[in-house]
Each structure stands twice: as structure tokens, then as C-alpha cells.
Symmetry: none
Subunit: 125 residues, 4 copies
DNA sequence: GTGGTCTAGACCACG
DNA sequence: GTGGTCTAGACCACG
């Protein structure tokens, strides 16, 4: 379910944080879903347990998961968190669109590209 | 003209690379424009000359600038480079749009957001 | 295994890049071989770690080595890279042969010299 | 007659030295041929006169040219110099051929490539 | 003055 | 421990 690229220049723990968040946003991971323990996840991914622990801590700090004594780590977020995340995504898109405009692309051209991306996803949603 | 944020977690040399590339894409920097010398740029930005040199070397490697013996460093790129950069921008936008879709946003909502961004730039372009 | 000549007018980092590439071409270094860490290599060669780091980064940029998080730096290339390198060698030989011809050497004389070089290597290959 | 590439990482004075030496080896420049004055050459090439002067000094040091009071700078070499240069060319070719061998090329393959280069020159010689 | 290279030494994130 | 980044400062070739 999770793919780690040890050759990437992006830290492993960040890759894991991002993938779990994406799983939540996409709906693959729902509230109360149990995540693999740090050790199991580390073995699954072939990485150091410290690295998984760091990712889980970061996710807990962000209010996406929670550690429940005697149970393990579960997905636990509220919609505010997700909304905040969506607006964070828009914040990432904005400067990129601005750059396209400056590069001479028209609004129409940009919209068309976006539409194409959405259409490619089409049926799945 | 260039802003460096030494507190950012993004390396200084990368910030400079990105800002010069953005200047080129936006058209502020044109072919044959002379860049400040490594030393002058370093003083302007308040950073070490080595850091500026690293940025300039990276830009030269990317085919954006060129070192001319006895003259200094100039902007020197061809449109292929810029086209490649535009498609790199689209590649960054794509996964973000995908995430918005998965999060439940409709194509229409996304398009509207993009339009809003473009309209805000409106008159300048 | 590696020899650095600090008196050479060729930069140290370039000497190291070249020797590692030669090691790959000659087959001494194979894919997934672990290179000494930047620090160890620096001590071995008696040079500054920054200099070794610069060489490693250049090799990574060229697609000869890769940095694996939590493991270190390994040889990692594909044959395309090697083929490209061989054709680069031929490109270096060409103008030299041309010069010999212009200097009055006959094709036969040149071939004989080349043969002599090959024969001297003889048994080792 | 001479081409200088100010974007090259090879110093301009070296480029000029090399091209004049090549001219001599190829026979375009013969003993007692008059070279343009430092100033004229500098203007022709669009470079700094100091740079041309440096090249001429280097050539004089190598015994290829001579400065004659009241006459200017002339080509002036003896065949020993040329012979030495030819052997210097062979010294450059040798490690390249060695590398090809190590890369798995057979002697025959290498010879064929060399022949191809010589044949392409064919008629001119 | 200009860029290129190198050293010594430091700090940091990552694993 | 590992590589990445940065500074301060130096030296050098080049033009």
C-alpha cells in the first residue's frame, strides 16, 4: 500500500507522512482504521523503525492519527483538519498557476489542462 | 530584486536558483542580461560567495545561464529549456489536482478556484 | 585504490570523478558496490571532505552513483551511460587522429601504433 | 582563421595556442609566416590583447614562434618540435585506447573506428 | 575584478 | 554515522 523510494532526496519519514495523509484525503484510510505498528510498518517498508516512529509522531502532531494504549495507532482526524489540508493544497497550486500565466499561458489553456487531468480520473470518482 | 529567507528550510542556493529561473520565465530576465558577479550578488543578499557560486553553477548546468570569459555571467537559455520547465510545472500541479478530486471537490469547483487565481492577476498580463 | 595528485593542474574532485568512472568502465566497480563514505574517502585520500562530496555529487548528477538513505553511496548506472561514455572517448580520440594524419602520418602508421598499445595490454584482458 | 569560444571552459589563450599549433602541424602555417600583431589578432578575435600576448609568449616558450624586432612575430620551429608534439598526441591517445579496451571493445573494433576516421579525411590529404 | 577550487570547521536533518 | 549546506577565508588562473 505504501511505496518508499530510498533513492529520493525527500526524507523517508516525509514520504510516509505524505502517503498516509493522501490515503486519508482520498478516503482509503478512514477514522478508526488501525495502522500497522511501528515495527511491522518498518519491516513492510524495509526501513528503520525510528523513521516510522518519526512519521507517526508527525502525523499525531498534525491531528491525523492517535495512539491508543493497548490498541495501537489509529486514524483519527476531524473534517477541519481535512479542510485545512485542502486549502494547503490550493496554496501549493497558486504559485504554480501564477508562473504558467507569466510564462504566457492563457487562462483558457490552463483551464483546459486542468480539465484534462480531471477527465482522466473520470470514472473512478 | 532577489529575496532570500535564511530561516527557510529550503537551502539558500536553491532559493536563488528558483528565483532566477522564475525571473526568466516571467520575462524579467532576458537572454544576454548580465547577472551581478558572484561577489556582488553575495553582498547584495548578505550570504557567502560560495553559496552564490553554487547557485550559478547549478543554473549553468541547467542551461539557463552561461559564463563568458572576461565578461561575467549572463542569462543564456533557449526556448526548449523554458518549455521543459513549463511541463515540469504541470507535472507538479497534476498530483495536487488529483488530490483535490479525491477529497471530493468537483471539477467545476477546482476550475473556479483556478479562474479566481488567474483573474486576480488580470490587468498585469 | 584511488590516486590523487595534489600538484596536478587538474582539480582534485575531477581526478576522483574520473577515477571512479574509469573503475566502472573497467569493471572494477560494479552496480550496488558501496563506495566509502565521504568522510572515509576524504581521510583515505588526505583531502577535505567537501572535495569528496563535490566529486560524489557530480557523479550522482551524471547517473553513475546514487545516494541511498540510511545506507550510503553506491554505484548505480545503466549501460546507456556507459555507452555514452564510450562514444565520448571516441570523440576525444578523433581530433587527435586527425592531427596525426595532417602531420603526415599514414593510416597504416597510426593503426600500428594503436595495435602496439592494444598488444601491450594483451594478456590482462 | 581562428575560432575562439568565450563560453568554453578552456582558457582563451590556450585555445589560441592550440589552434596555432594545429595550424603548424597541419601545414597551414609554415616557417617564416607572419602572424598578426598582438593588437590585430586581439581585434580579430574580439578578445583582450593581454590574452593574445600570453598565447604568443607560450608559443615562443615552446619554440613554435619567434618575435623579430622590427618585423613582428613569425612562425619559427624545427622538426624536432613537431616530432615531440606528435609523440605528445600519441600519449594522449594511449589512455583513451586503454579505456576502450577495458570497456570491452576488441582491438579489431577499435582499429575499425580509427580507419573510419582516416577514411573520412581521405581525399584532402 | 572574475569565477573556480580548496580547506577547516561548523551545524543540521536523517536514520 | 551519514550526506547536505553554509561560512570564512584563502589561493589561483584568467583577462
Amino acid at each position: 500500500m505504501f511505496n518508499i523510494d530510498v533513492r529520493s532526496n525527500k526524507p523517508i519519514y516525509e514520504q510516509l507522512v505524505e502517503q498516509i495523509k493522501t490515503g486519508v484525503i482520498k478516503g482509503y484510510l478512514k477514522n478508526d482504521d488501525l495502522l500497522p505498528s511501528v515495527r511491522k510498518m518498518a519491516i513492510n517498508l524495509g526501513v528503520n523503525p525510528n523513521t516510522v516512529a518519526k512519521a507517526y509522531q508527525e502525523l499525531e502532531r498534525q491531528g491525523i492519527i492517535a495512539t491508543i494504549r493497548g490498541k495501537g495507532t489509529i486514524i483519527s482526524y476531524n473534517n477541519q483538519i481535512i479542510e485545512k489540508d485542502i486549502s494547503r493544497i490550493m496554496d501549493k497550486i497558486k504559485p504554480l498557476v501564477v508562473e504558467l500565466k507569466y510564462a504566457g499561458k492563457t487562462t483558457e489553456e490552463i483551464i483546459n489542462e486542468i480539465k484534462k487531468i480531471c477527465d482522466d480520473l473520470g470514472g473512478n470518482l
